[in-house]
């Protein structure tokens, strides 16, 4: 049952072995969705020291510590808004490519626990929205010891920034005279785009001239070369276009080929060819009730399905929402209702984000060598009538474990 975060020492009814070692966990599932398109029936998954050591077919639960109708890998949310609190963003400059959010994270905040209870075991965190280029994104586990050492999966996993009106909102000075640094900052969409271009041109030119290094240049160049992906928030079509054209301009100038990920691409369904052309991936925002989203974009129910059909890698996100109707699993349900096949829905919350974030060697699938992150379901995943009833993270049961049905 989804309850508290107590680290259970697993005195569970199905346990044959009265005291399983803390470092070993055996999970039995009638069906294990080990990866998109792969199902193992009557699977016995063994986790040792936090890593999966084997996935085997077995006729009975045997001495499993946990039993469930279905199991998937721990879910991955790469659009996770850790906090809308603006102290995650260094606003004294428009471009803070080197800024990291990780040191400022409150690992005791309830938001992690809420995510964990929805089955989300890994998330991408990044400075949100108020800067043009906010800084570096990191991949974190949502549970375990509340220390960065224990939770960080990958630091500097991507460069993150935003197009559109959000980075410029609130920048227009109320009087005519500049009173603080906000008045130096862009006040329109074109100003925002200009900041992007200027930052990358400057970094590239400085590098070529051999100028003295400065903070952020290396990060920009890594993004420019495609070494790390660039996440650009762009809700509406006009901003998605801007992001794509910007990446194309960089390529056309011979500066580098970016790996573009459109974050919160609510209107990506309108012009999918543009995304196909630029090899961009999309992370979708949560489906709003009447289709209308932030930045006045319109997102239809079949958005994920359309992108999938066009061959665009698509990830889903709940934007750290909580409560009924706002969980990541429910986003997958809505996407399915919109026509996304089951396997693609599973991929959109596991393998696709794991791959884009460069952590697919650790999370996103159930296979030997992967982290022991599992979600236990009381029926087929991504159905209205089922829900996550247990969550295992690094081989430890953090949520539930009650498997009486």
């Amino acid at each position: 049952m989804i309850t508290t975060l107590a680290l259970l020492s697993l005195s569970l009814p199905v346990t044959a072995d009265p005291a399983p070692g803390a470092d070993r966990l055996v999970v039995f599932a009638e069906r294990a969705f080990t990866a998109p398109g792969e199902v193992v029936t009557n699977a016995v998954i063994t986790i040792n020291d936090g890593k999966i050591v084997s996935v085997k077919r077995n006729s009975s639960a045997g001495s499993a510590d946990l039993k469930a109708a279905c199991v998937t890998a721990g879910l991955v949310d790469m659009g996770f808004r850790y906090s809308t609190n603006q102290n995650t963003v260094e606003q004294s400059s428009e471009i803070t490519a080197a800024a990291r959010i990780a040191p400022a994270l409150d690992l005791h905040a309830r938001v992690w626990e809420r995510a964990l209870r929805q089955g989300i075991t890994s998330v991408a965190v990044f400075p949100v929205d108020r800067n043009v280029v906010g800084g570096q994104g990191a991949v974190l586990k949502t549970g375990g010891d509340p220390t960065l050492e224990a939770r960080l999966v990958r630091e500097d996993a991507f460069l993150r920034g935003a197009m559109g009106s959000l980075p410029s909102s609130g920048n227009r000075p109320s009087g005519s005279r500049p009173t603080n640094f906000y008045s130096r900052r862009p006040t329109t969409r074109m100003g925002v785009e200009w900041e992007w271009r200027k930052a990358f041109y400057d970094a590239w030119q400085e590098e070529n001239r051999g100028d003295a290094d400065r903070p952020g240049r290396a990060e920009l160049l890594r993004a420019l070369s495609g070494e790390t992906p660039v996440f650009i928030q762009a809700w509406a079509t006009q901003d998605i276009r801007t992001a794509v054209f910007f990446a194309e301009e960089m390529a056309a100038e011979g500066m580098g080929t970016m790996r573009l990920v459109i974050d919160a691409g609510a209107e990506a369904w309108r012009e999918p060819n543009l995304l196909v052309r630029s090899n961009a991936a999309v992370c979708l925002p949560p489906l709003p009730a009447e289709g209308r989203t932030t930045e006045n974009a319109f997102m239809s129910l079949d958005t994920a399905a359309k992108l999938h059909e066009a061959g665009i890698p698509v990830a889903l996100s709940a934007h750290a929402g909580s409560g009924s109707g706002n969980t990541l699993a429910e986003q997958a349900i809505y996407a399915r209702r919109g026509g996304l096949p089951f396997d693609a829905a599973l991929a959109a919350v596991t393998t696709v984000p794991a791959t884009l974030l460069g952590v697919s060697d650790r999370v996103g699938t159930i296979a030997a060598g992967q982290d022991g992150d599992l979600v236990l379901w009381n029926g087929d995943p991504f159905e209205f009538t089922t829900r996550p009833v247990g969550v295992v993270l690094n081989g430890t049961v953090l949520v539930g474990g009650d498997t009486d049905r």
Binding site: M1, T3, N85, D106, A109, R110, V111, D402, D404, R405
Partner: protein
């Protein structure tokens, strides 16, 4: 589905045997005997090596060597004393209820009390020995409505409210009606917390005018009551007159009938239309229009319901004492009274008790108060004022620390027995809670079993009985 672990709140309720109506460790009707080294029957009066016998939730005997009735529960402890009463609390009230500024006088604080919420705070208060609280909502309003005494360990829904209309609350100079006294702040985990910034300073003249408003409300109440009494009198008179009139009419009826027939006859003859004779009588006196608010002030001005008025500064206390001097039946209680030391003798003479909070929020919290905090209770008691100690309408959790507040008053100069009385027998007496506050024959068995003196820091409450039920079980 049946196993969803949502039951923690209920487990908790069962533990304090309060919020869960049904949980009762010792069913009513059972007997309990407590063997005690020391029983504080009332403040200052201690019996040594005696037993306390409780039957049907009522104290029956307190003496040495009581024979234990069959089936009685036996408990023992070093010190037994009466359950404490916080005479000025906001425990169980939601913050919106305490900060509300425009209640009608007839509202009851019992309606602001959440029997389902703040379980943990209630449990802590009970475990620290507080068994009843007088709660006052809308503290900062000029007239705060009726306060209520609540039980912290009720056996039933009805049991929860000990008295719903125990006193009318009021306050002088606490807040500027146009500005709130609290603000929200965002915690590190994104949660909101309410920060009390303290009342906004009010113009001194405005504060004094609040005294006048209270006085004129009392006047209104008095006139209303007078009008009501007059009406009763007038109505009786009218009824009497009408009864006589009816007798007269009955007597004259035959004649009247005859006359009438005659007149009809005559009219017919003359070809005129018959006209009934006009009947006239005095109209019945009209009852004064019912007014729930005036009703309350009538009761207060007439001394049927006490007025608890929070007032702090010298100027306001002086004006208040002057303005209320003519209301001979008014039973006034001052709450707070930060600067009341200056009026100790007058308060004693006029029998005006004071509810002291020995630890207000520092000198800077209320504008220009000179906090006598820890010494005030002692000064007033010395002068002969009835002193009650309450936790003072700040925080819901404060009631837990009531005994520490009393201890602080003792440290500030009050006699320790008086300080203990200020949280037991005196509140019971002032607020007419005749069935509690001391350990005497016939009183409700709200008892604490302690391992030391009640006001000591190092004393722990071993067990708590409310109405003879063990609601905090002895540990070990």
């Amino acid at each position: 589905m049946r196993k969803l672990s949502i039951r923690t709140p209920l487990l908790l309720a069962a533990f304090i045997a309060g919020a869960g109506w049904s949980a009762a460790a010792t069913p009513l009707g059972d007997a309990v005997v407590i063997h005690a080294k020391e029983v504080i029957v009332r403040p200052g009066e201690v019996l040594e090596d005696v037993d306390v016998l409780v039957i049907d939730g009522v104290i029956r005997r307190v003496e040495a060597g009581i024979e234990v009735p069959e089936g009685a529960r036996e408990l023992s402890g070093a010190v037994v004393c009466a359950g404490m009463i916080d005479p000025w609390s906001v425990l169980g009230l939601q913050s919106t209820e305490t900060t509300f500024t425009s209640p009608s006088p007839a509202t009851r604080s019992a309606d602001s009390f959440d029997p389902f919420g703040q379980e943990f705070q209630k449990k802590q208060a009970l475990e620290s020995g507080v068994t009843s609280v007088r709660v006052q909502a809308a503290r900062r309003a000029l007239v705060s409505g009726l306060s209520s005494v609540m039980s912290l360990a009720p056996t039933s829904d009805e049991d929860l409210v000990v008295q719903s209309e125990v006193a009318l609350g009021a306050s002088i100079g606490l807040t500027n009606p146009s500005s709130g006294g609290s603000t929200f702040t965002r915690g590190s985990d994104g949660s909101f917390a309410v920060i009390e910034t303290g009342p906004t300073p009010m113009d001194p003249f405005e504060r004094i005018s609040q005294v006048d408003k209270i006085a004129s409300l009392l006047d209104t109440g008095l006139s209303y009551r007078i009008a009501q009494n007059e009406h009763i009198h007038d109505l009786a008179e009218w009824n009497e007159a009408i009864a006589e009139k009816v007798k007269e009419l009955e007597k004259d009826f035959k004649k009247a009938k005859k006359d009438r027939d005659k007149e009809i006859e005559e009219a017919k003859e003359k070809g005129k239309e018959f006209k009934e004779e006009r009947y006239k009588e005095d109209k019945a006196p009209k009852a004064p229009k019912f007014d729930a608010d005036k009703e309350i002030f009538a009761r207060v001005a007439n001394g049927e319901t006490p007025l608890v008025i929070e007032v702090h500064r010298v100027a306001e206390i002086r004006n208040l004492l002057e303005a209320t001097a003519d209301f001979g039946r008014l039973r006034m209680v001052i709450a707070g009274g930060t600067e009341a030391a200056a009026f100790a003798d007058e308060l004693a003479e006029r029998n005006i008790p004071v509810i002291v909070n020995p630890l207000t929020h520092g000198a800077g919290a209320f504008d220009e108060f000179d906090g006598h905090d820890p010494t005030l209770a002692g000064i007033l008691a010395e002068a002969g004022v009835d002193v009650l100690i309450g936790t003072g309408g700040h925080a819901t959790g404060a009631t837990r620390d009531l005994s520490l507040m009393a201890a602080l008053a003792a440290g500030g100069g009050m006699e320790e027995d008086d300080a203990f009385a200020a949280i037991t027998s005196v509140p019971a007496r002032i607020f007419n809670l005749t069935d509690r506050g001391t350990i005497e024959f016939g009183k409700q068995a709200d008892l604490l079993i302690l391992d030391g003196q009640p006001l000591s820091t190092t004393t722990t409450v071993k067990a708590v009985l409310v109405g003879g039920r063990v609601v905090v079980e002895p540990k070990e």
